[in-house]
Structures are given as C-alpha cells and as structure tokens.
C-alpha cells in the first residue's frame, strides 16, 4: 500500500505511513477515492521545474527572509521570486481532500488565476490546467 504523501510502500493494513506518519487508507478505500476524486495537483514553473509541495493541508507560498523570521512552506526565492515581485508571505494553498483553493495573503503585487487578479483573503478554487501568477512569476497547475 503506497503512501499518497511520500510514496513509501507500506504493508497492507498499516494505519499510518512508517516513513512520514500520514494516515493511510486501505487499498480499497484508496481505489474508490481515486476513482471519485480529482487527482492531486502539482505546481511547476515556466521552465518545467516541479515545485516540491510539502505534505500539508495549508501551504504558505512566498520568499524566505530569516531576518524577518519568515519561512514559507514553499520558498520561491530560487525561482526568481525576488525579481518577479513575490512577497515574503504571498499566498496560501489550501488542500481539502481532492479540492484545492488559493488565497492571496494581501501581497504587494497580487495573485492571478488564469490572468484574473483574485481578491486578497478570498480563497479561489484552482484545478489542473489553470495558470497561477504571483506578482510576475507564473506557475502551471498540473495533475500529479
């Protein structure tokens, strides 16, 4: 039975992943869930780099700044975040089962979904195929 969070193979019947501690569904529940639900999403940059999204239900996206004690879950510094106007705490990606929403955290240069600026602090549903822009940094939303 494969853990959906870290891909570790666990023995059938295990309740939690031995590697990352994520709750495991039995194969049957997992198969049924996979049939019914939308696939997991990943974010990738324009050059195709896949971003490493932590296995959490709330993922803060931004730029790391140790001086201000800001350590986002998804740090875009190495993807041109600074040059492209990504705020230190720019947006938060919420995950609820198969559903994802993106919420702007009051960023300076705004968050866009399919070229439309979203209102700060109002979560916006996103799905595979959408384009997300944080300031001037574009990210593609894809199925895992």
């Amino acid at each position: 039975m494969k853990c959906t969070q870290c891909q570790m193979e666990n023995i059938e019947g295990a309740l939690f992943c031995e590697e990352c501690g994520a709750k495991l569904e039995s194969r049957q529940e997992f198969v049924e869930a996979a049939d019914a639900a939308a696939p997991q999403l990943v974010l990738s940059t324009q050059d195709g780099s896949k971003l490493d999204i932590p296995a959490k239900d709330e993922i803060v996206i931004g730029r790391e700044d140790p001086i201000s004690d800001v350590f986002p879950d998804l740090d875009l510094t190495n993807y041109g975040g600074m040059e492209k106007g990504v705020s230190r705490k720019h947006a938060v990606l919420h995950r609820a089962g198969p559903d994802y929403t993106l919420e702007d955290m009051g960023s300076t240069n705004g968050t866009y979904v399919n070229k439309k600026r979203i209102q700060p602090h109002v979560p916006q549903a996103i799905k595979a195929g959408d384009e997300v822009r944080l300031g001037k940094l574009s990210l593609s939303v894809r199925a895992a």
Partner: protein, 416 residues
C-alpha cells in the same frame, strides 16, 4: 476466589480483506485488576538516589529535602528505604533499613550540602546495591533517581546498571530537574528497567512527583506481571509498545520469534496496563481466523494469590466484503495514532541529532499535524517552534526537545 485479573483484546479491524500478501493488524491488549488497589500495604523497597552536585544548591535542594521527608512519612514500618547521595563522589547516607526511624532519616537529609559535579553511575551503583539488600519478590522494588545535570563519560555504565536492575525486578524511576540534564539517558534508564521518567520543570514540583510515586506504589494491585502471546502459525508479532507509565517500544526486549514474552513487573490498579501489538498475518481462506492468544499472569500477595491468570483470544474474520474490511475500531485507531506521533517525534530527534535537518523537519511537520489531530495543541505548537529553530539554527532547543520527548511519551495518559 473471584479472578481479579482481566485481559481484554481489541483488534484494529474485526474483518480483514482476503489478499495474496501478508497484512498488518493491530491488537490493543488491556490488562486490569478490576479496580483493586492497596497492594502498597504489603511492602515497598525504595532506594532514593539523589544528586547533591553544586547546581542543586538553593531552591532545588530545599524542595528535595521536603520531598524526601514526605516519602519517609508516608512509607509504612514494613517498607524498606535507603538513601544514596552523589556528586562526583558517592555516599550511602541511609543503608537499606525498615522505614521506622523517620526522624533520623530526615535529619541525615537535612544536613546534606550541595557540592561537586555529577557522576550518575556511582550513585546508581550504590543505590542498586541498597535496593538489592531490601529486595523481596513480594515487595515493590524501586530506585528513585533524581538529578539536575549531565553525567560525564559514564552513560554506558548507567544503562548497564539500569538493565541489571530491570532484570532483577527493580524498576528505576528517573527524574530530571530544570533543563540541563540528558533526557535521552534518563528515559533510557527508565525504559531499560521497566520504570517511569519525569521531567520536573520547576523545583517546587519535586514534592508533587515524589507524592505521585508514593501514590503509585499504593495503587499497585499485582506484581510479577507477565504477558505471553502465543501466535498461530505464520503470524508474526513485529512491534510491541507499552503505554503505562509511558509509551515505550519494547519490541527488541519482548518479541521472541513468533511469540511475545513481556515481563511488566507491577500492575497499577487504577491505570492498568495497555499494550499495543502490531502483527503481520499471512493470507487466509474466508472465515474466522484465530491469530493467537494473550495470557497474563501475576501474583497478588496482599490477597494471598500467586499465579493468577487470565486469557483472551485474538480473532479476525477474513472476508471478501470490502465494506466490512474497511471498518477500523476507533479506540485502537486512537492508540495507534498516539504511538505513531511518539515514533515520528523520536525519529525527528534522531535525524536532527545526526544533522539531517530536512528529514528532521519533515518528521516534525508530520508529528505536528498528527498532534493537532489528537487535540494536543501545546505539543503541536512546540513541534512548530522546533521546526523554526531547525531552519534557523540547524538545532533543536533543550526545552523543546524535553517537551516533545516527555509529552509524546505520556500521550496515552489521557486514555486513563
């Protein structure tokens, strides 16, 4: 006489789906004595091993003296007590003797002056000698070790002494005051001997911890508790955890091939004992399958009973009914989740110690999520703070480490 010992086994799933491969199933084994307590009247053998190093001076030493006085006042004349004090030298202040001369014992303690360094093994060795002198099979035999500092270059010897004590039926209760002591060592001393460990944040709480030890002694309902698990052919016990007095992985100590043999020492009449056993079960035909049998045996000297025994069967149903096989028992699930949080935290600390910051962070993040699910807000926040510390400095804080180590081990206390 009515059997005072009860064993209750609950499986994580009543039904398992028929598959081609081995699968995991968990058994929660609860051992209780029908609420019986009061065994303490039958006798205790307490060896107090106390740190009097220079750093104990002041509030710590004053509170310690008061706490020792409380213990002495609450032991009965039939109980046996000894007191060993140590810094980088050791002194047997009160050799093993009946706890009758209370004033004499308290006066000896009152004259102790804090001085010197910390050499725990010397104290533990002398304490074990005294505990052996007062040892009796029908007594609760215990060493209470208290320190506020790190010992130097004798950790291995300390662990060997704790193991020796455990084999002889003498449990070590280790207590650390403040922040400057080695929690890993103190927890291992308790685990190796089948004892408990306490973190005393504030010297004023020393008395509370000593009081809980005395109350725990009075709550002992049975001694020489042994749990035997005999498994059906092909069934493998792979992990076993105790949950009282704290969560501890006892797999290496108690799993012998396809069997389980656990010497638990005493049974607390109020808390009982709960074990979590992870089993791997081979493929089976449809129908009832007997995984194995759990048997507990103990003595209850206060009632004149030896060799008391109780048994319970581990049974599941192998089925093709998917709906039936996905039902998980909520009580067992909760216990597995608590043990998993403890495991994650332990692995995170091991990774951090080895300098694997990314792995330590990932484990702590997972532990924080699990602790939140369990409603353990404070512990989850501690884990979050330690994640920040790891990212900033590459290390964990002494305070946060102690909170996580002790907090996750005692998660099961809410069960009782």
């Amino acid at each position: 006489m009515k059997n005072g010992l009860n064993v209750r086994c609950v499986m994580s799933k009543d039904a398992l789906l028929r598959t081609e491969n081995d699968q995991a199933v968990y058994a929660m084994v609860e051992i209780t004595s029908g609420g019986r307590t009061g065994f303490g009247a039958a006798g205790a053998n307490f060896a107090l091993v106390l740190d009097r190093s220079g750093s104990m001076d002041g509030e710590k030493m004053d509170n310690l003296k008061e706490a020792v006085g409380y213990v002495v006042d609450h032991l009965s004349d039939r109980d046996v007590v000894s007191v060993v004090i140590f810094d980088d030298q050791v002194e047997t202040l009160i050799p093993s003797q009946p706890a009758k001369n209370r004033d004499e014992i308290k006066n000896s303690i009152a004259n102790v002056i804090a001085r010197g360094g910390t050499q725990i093994s010397d104290g533990l060795k002398a304490g074990l000698e005294e505990a052996k002198k007062g040892f009796a099979k029908d007594r609760v035999n215990r060493i209470l070790l208290l320190t506020d500092g790190r010992t130097w270059d004798d950790e291995e010897l300390c662990l060997r002494l704790a193991e020796e004590a455990g084999k002889q039926g003498i449990a070590v209760t280790s207590m650390g005051i403040g922040e400057e002591w080695n929690e890993k060592l103190l927890l291992q001393l308790a685990e190796k001997s089948g004892g408990d460990s306490h973190w005393i944040e504030n010297p004023i709480s020393i008395l509370d911890v000593f009081r809980s030890e005395v109350e725990g002694l009075q709550a002992v309902s049975a001694i020489n508790l042994r749990v035997t698990g005999r498994m059906n052919h092909g069934v493998k016990p792979v992990k076993v955890y105790t949950t009282v007095p704290m969560i501890a992985d006892a797999s290496a100590k108690w799993i012998r091939g396809g069997s389980l043999l656990a010497d638990l020492g005493t049974l607390d009449g109020k808390k009982g004992q709960t074990l979590l056993v992870e089993l791997h079960v081979p493929k089976q035909k449809a129908g009832k399958f007997r995984i194995g049998q759990i048997e507990a045996t103990c003595d209850m000297p206060s009632e004149g009973i030896t060799g008391q025994s109780a048994k319970s069967e581990l049974v599941v149903d192998f089925t093709d009914d998917i709906a039936a096989a996905t039902k998980v028992n909520a009580e067992v699930m909760n216990l597995v989740e608590k043990v998993s949080a403890f495991k994650l935290q332990t692995r995170a600390l091991t990774e951090a110690e080895a300098g694997n910051i990314a792995a330590a962070t990932q484990k702590l993040e997972a532990a924080a999520t699990m602790l939140l699910n369990l409603g353990e807000q404070d512990l989850a926040e501690t884990a979050e703070r330690e994640i920040l510390s790891l990212r900033k400095t590459g290390t964990l804080t002494a305070l946060g480490t102690k909170k996580l180590e002790y907090g996750t081990r005692k998660l099961t206390h809410a069960l009782k």
